[in-house]
């Protein structure tokens, strides 16, 4: 396998412009001869499917939900970045580019990030045109707020439901194309395999979750927009359905998996209440604009928050990072919270929590203003914890939230398998080792609306001869054997008839990963975990209990399939974390830290993308390195002090 990034030459500001001109076009009459299979209907998938259909391609779109409107992009709360400089506060494309490269701890590709910053401005325009009701000021112009990791206000938002409104915008564009007959929408479909023949992507195997039947679909390209893998930790802020199955199975078919160890732990989630916990709920990072993070100065101080005077409080982010304060980036804020909890200064019944206190802001601007800004978040907090954040500080703790790693893609967003494109959180491309707030929505929509629709056309234009005959291929042996393979796999899971539910395995795996491959990692912990994962997986295949049958709606079977892939993927994640002997962004190796506990990067040895090639069950994956060069942003120690 050779990884060619295909980054265009020339100055960074001109690369995308020039590349767009150099890419081949397809005339409108020929576009309808090409079919793209889009898997996933979140921000990236829905925007891509709609835009491809508008261009005239045949599009089939697949999602496992009952409707394309339910993908997890919908839960994003805070906002979306764009270098509009509406605030006249010194923002620019170059500054957004710079912040993102630095925020990613110098582990992202400069060219991709610059392109992202360039198209960010068009995304806002597009969404406004669709009728996305962004927050406005009294003069009628778009409002902005600041967000972690940036010193300018470039974040656009729609109350605390920005993801919902952007997704519903993309969903409406997609719905329009479905209504026009340009997109065939397949709901309740879980992708089980990618079909690759003669070196190119030819189609997919999906399971119809309603009747349990396996179906195959053929196309000229497959676009995977299948999200991230935070649920490997079982407890994360992701929706219950989020899984790694589609990306991992594509990995098994030859797609390199890049930087799986880069996971983002979000600093502001509601702490777990007990064993029964099904998932963790995020409180938007935007709360840190007005909330101050603190713990008692003295370990074991169990007084109520109000009873602790200011002199006995430690506002640790403001103390450690005076220039960014409570807006320090996510990785740094999360680790600081863990640190103070490890010192025994954590708050709440479990001791795993820190205060996020609005007292001073409420005094300054009044409760009405705070309600206007965060009303729905305060309400949600109250509902979940039974505590009123207008009266007592919130308790928060870090939780797995986003995964920067993903399938490796080149500048055209194409994976290492020709014809397989990967967009949104599912790819690895733009956030390096840490993602800044309000950048996930930006990347998903950038990929789907403005990048993939160009680059996929260039791929189609190069297809010749037999590669054009997608329909004829649907009856090839590659299709029937991929289907049989999936069938046998399902039969195997159903036949095990053990004693434990898929969920109980998932919970155990997740805890293991959180303890050893979560916020902090070390070599011995990772090595032990690799052994433990293998043992637990063995037990899974001997002892999992999947009730119900294969040819019907069966939620335990769906869970079992997803958990099985999380096992294999967890191994890959630990392997990657073990090999990366440095600390960068969300990847913190305890062996590699400065004296004051900050991450210590090693640019000499690790300034590369680590992309893993699958080499069969039981064989160690093979590491490929794509070296990263920084010509426009100087490699420097990332400081927020």
């Amino acid at each position: 396998m050779e990884l060619k990034s295909n980054i265009p030459s020339g100055p960074i500001e001109q690369k995308w412009e020039r590349h767009r001109f150099e890419m081949k076009l397809i005339n409108p009459a020929n576009k309808r001869k090409f079919r793209a299979l889009v898997v996933g209907s979140g921000l990236a998938g829905a925007s891509a499917a709609a835009t491809l259909a508008e261009l005239g391609y045949q599009v089939s779109c697949f999602c496992f939900h009952d409707s394309p409107r339910r993908a997890h992009s919908i839960a994003a709360q805070g906002g979306i970045n764009a270098a509009k400089n509406y605030r006249n506060d010194g923002d620019s494309v170059h500054r957004l580019f710079y912040d993102t490269v630095k925020g990613g701890d110098f582990r992202a590709r400069e060219a991709n990030v610059h392109r992202l910053a360039e198209v960010s401005v068009s995304i806002i325009d597009q969404c406004v045109a669709q009728g996305v009701p962004f927050a406005r000021e009294y003069g009628g112009y778009l409002d902005n707020r600041s967000f972690g990791g940036a010193q300018v206000s470039r974040t656009f938002y729609a109350r605390g439901q920005t993801g919902q409104q952007l997704l519903l915008g993309a969903y409406s564009a997609l719905s329009r194309q479905i209504g026009l007959g340009n997109v065939k929408m397949f709901t309740h479909r879980e992708m089980l395999d990618l079909i690759v023949e003669d070196g190119r992507t030819r189609g997919i195997v999906v399971r119809n979750l309603l009747d349990g039947k396996l179906e195959t679909y053929s196309g000229h390209a497959v676009v995977m927009a299948t999200g991230g893998y935070s649920n490997v930790f079982f407890l994360s802020t992701n929706a219950k359905g989020c899984n790694v199955t589609a990306t991992y199975r594509a990995h098994k078919k030859g797609a390199a998996f890049a930087n799986p160890c880069y996971t983002q732990i979000h600093p502001t989630s509601i702490p777990a209440a007990g064993e029964h916990q099904a998932k963790l709920t995020l409180m938007s990072e935007s709360l840190r604009n007005d909330g101050r993070v603190w713990v008692p100065k003295n370990p074991g101080d169990k007084r109520h928050a109000e009873a602790i005077p200011d002199s006995e409080r430690d506002y640790f982010l403001e103390r450690k990072y005076p220039s960014f304060g409570n807006l320090a980036p996510r990785d740094i804020s999360s680790r600081s919270a863990k640190e103070v909890c490890d010192e025994g200064r954590g708050v709440g019944p479990t001791g795993k929590g820190v205060f996020l206190d609005f007292r001073d802001s409420i005094r300054r601007v009044g409760p009405e203003k705070i309600k206007e800004r965060y009303g729905n978040l305060f309400q949600m907090y109250d509902r979940i914890t039974g505590e009123d954040p207008y009266q007592v500080p919130m308790r928060i703790y870090p939780a797995p939230h986003y995964t920067m790693g993903g399938l490796w893609v080149d500048y055209n967003l194409m994976s290492s398998i020709p014809g397989l494109f990967v967009i949104g959180e599912a790819n690895f491309s733009d956030h390096g080792a840490n993602r800044l707030g309000a950048s996930a929505l930006m990347q998903g929509l950038a990929d789907g609306y403005f990048i993939l629709p160009y680059t996929i056309g260039n791929y189609f234009a190069e297809l010749k001869g037999a590669d054009l005959e997608a329909d004829a291929r649907a009856s090839s042996t590659a299709f029937s054997s991929a289907r049989t393979e999936s069938e046998n796999y399902i039969k195997k899971l159903l036949a095990t008839k053990g004693k434990r539910t898929p969920d109980s395995f998932h919970r155990e795996l997740g805890l293991m990963m959180w303890d050893n491959c979560g916020m902090a990692r070390n070599a011995s912990g990772l090595k032990q975990t690799l052994t433990k994962i293998a043992a637990l997986r063995d037990e899974f295949y001997r002892n999992v209990n999947v009730l119900g049958g294969g040819e019907e709606l069966n939620q335990s079977l769906v869970k079992a399939g997803r958990v099985a892939d999380f096992f294999d993927f967890a191994e890959l994640m630990c392997t990657d974390a073990l090999h990366r002997e440095e600390s960068c962004g969300g990847h913190f190796r305890e062996e590699h830290q400065t004296e004051d506990g900050e991450a210590k990067r090693d640019d000499e040895q690790f300034c590369y993308v680590g992309a893993w090639e699958y080499r069969g069950a039981g064989n160690a994956p093979l590491l490929h390195k794509e070296n990263l060069t920084f010509e426009n942003v100087k490699l420097s120690v990332r400081s927020y002090k």
């Binding site: 925007s47 835009t51 939900h65 009952d66 409107r69 339910r70 997890h72 919908i74 839960a75 068009s122 325009d125 597009q126 969404c127 406004v128 045109a129 669709q130 009728g131 009701p133 962004f134 927050a135 406005r136 000021e137 009628g140 112009y141 778009l142 729609a158 109350r159 439901q161 919902q164 409104q165 519903l168 409406s172 564009a173 719905s175 329009r176 479905i178 209504g179 929408m185 309603l210 929706a239 219950k240 359905g241 209440a273 007990g274 029964h276 916990q277 099904a278 709920t281 995020l282 309400q379 949600m380 509902r383 039974g386 609306y449 539910t501 969920d503 009730l547 019907e552 709606l553 939620q555």
Partner: protein, 252 residues
């Protein structure tokens, strides 16, 4: 807490279903309703009985996937709350809880507590959008929109498409859902061009799907987890009448 649950079990749309009684013990008041259902399912799986099928995903009250009639109320007793955000501290030890699927002609049952809400998607496909292609949109600040109107649009746009409005309506009407989308776009300048065409197309699709008519009982607003106001229904009706009159005038 110990509870007695009466849960609707139905193998599929063709079979008839029935309420089955289960007991769950040691339920923590900090559990969400979904976590309590997970505890029930774990118990069923341990005893070899097939778990109850139900929908849920984000568990944050925004994806609109979860849907249960709890003691006859869509999403249960707490106002402005989805099933996944409802917590067991709202119940008492020893309570009897009846758990049923959404019931409406246009939402056929798939299995147990899951129903088919694809009719909602088809209503949106009929006209719930602004016909703008990707690319070439004017600057986001080109058209100022008053904060008042933008806020009204957002009030309507918050709809999560869960179907509680339909389930709680004695007529099984989808007026609040349809009006929310129409109201969202009608309060924005971008939605004006197709405003009247949109309302006719979406209302016609709504009728075609078999949803009932509105008799102004406002049960929908009371059940809506996003507290969407029935005033959007009034606005939709006004636009619909206006559209019908205008289209009639155009055609004659």
């Amino acid at each position: 807490m110990n509870l007695t649950l009466h849960v609707w079990r139905q193998q599929n749309a063709n079979n008839s279903g029935k309420l089955v009684t289960y007991r769950v013990t040691d339920i923590s008041p900090d559990m969400s309703f979904i976590e309590m259902m997970n505890a029930l399912n774990q118990q069923l799986a341990d005893s070899g009985e097939e778990p109850v099928a139900f929908d849920c995903d984000c568990l944050e009250g925004v994806c609109g996937t979860c849907a249960m009639m709890i003691n006859g109320v869509a999403h249960g007793p707490e106002g402005a709350t989805t099933t996944c955000q409802l917590h067991m501290r709202k119940f008492q030890d020893g309570d009897q809880i009846y758990i049923e699927p959404w019931r409406a002609k246009a939402f056929p049952i798939i299995k147990d507590l899951m129903v088919d809400r694809s009719a909602f998607d088809r209503i949106i496909q009929a006209g719930g959008f602004v016909s703008v292609n990707t690319g070439g949109a004017p600057d986001g600040n080109a058209i100022p929109i008053s904060k008042y109107e933008a806020d009204l649009a957002m009030d309507a746009a918050q709809c999560i498409g869960c179907g509680a409005c339909v389930a709680s309506c004695k007529n099984g009407a989808a007026m609040l859902f349809t009006a929310a989308k129409i109201g969202h776009l009608a309060h924005l300048p971008q939605g004006q061009v197709e405003r009247y065409e949109r309302v006719v197309k979406m209302v016609e699709q709504m009728d075609k799907e078999g949803f009932g008519h509105c008799t102004n009982q406002n049960e929908c607003e009371a059940a809506c987890p996003k507290e969407i106001s029935v005033k959007f229904i009034a606005e939709m009706n006004r636009d619909f009448i206006k559209a019908k009159a205008c289209l009639k005038a155009q055609n004659s």
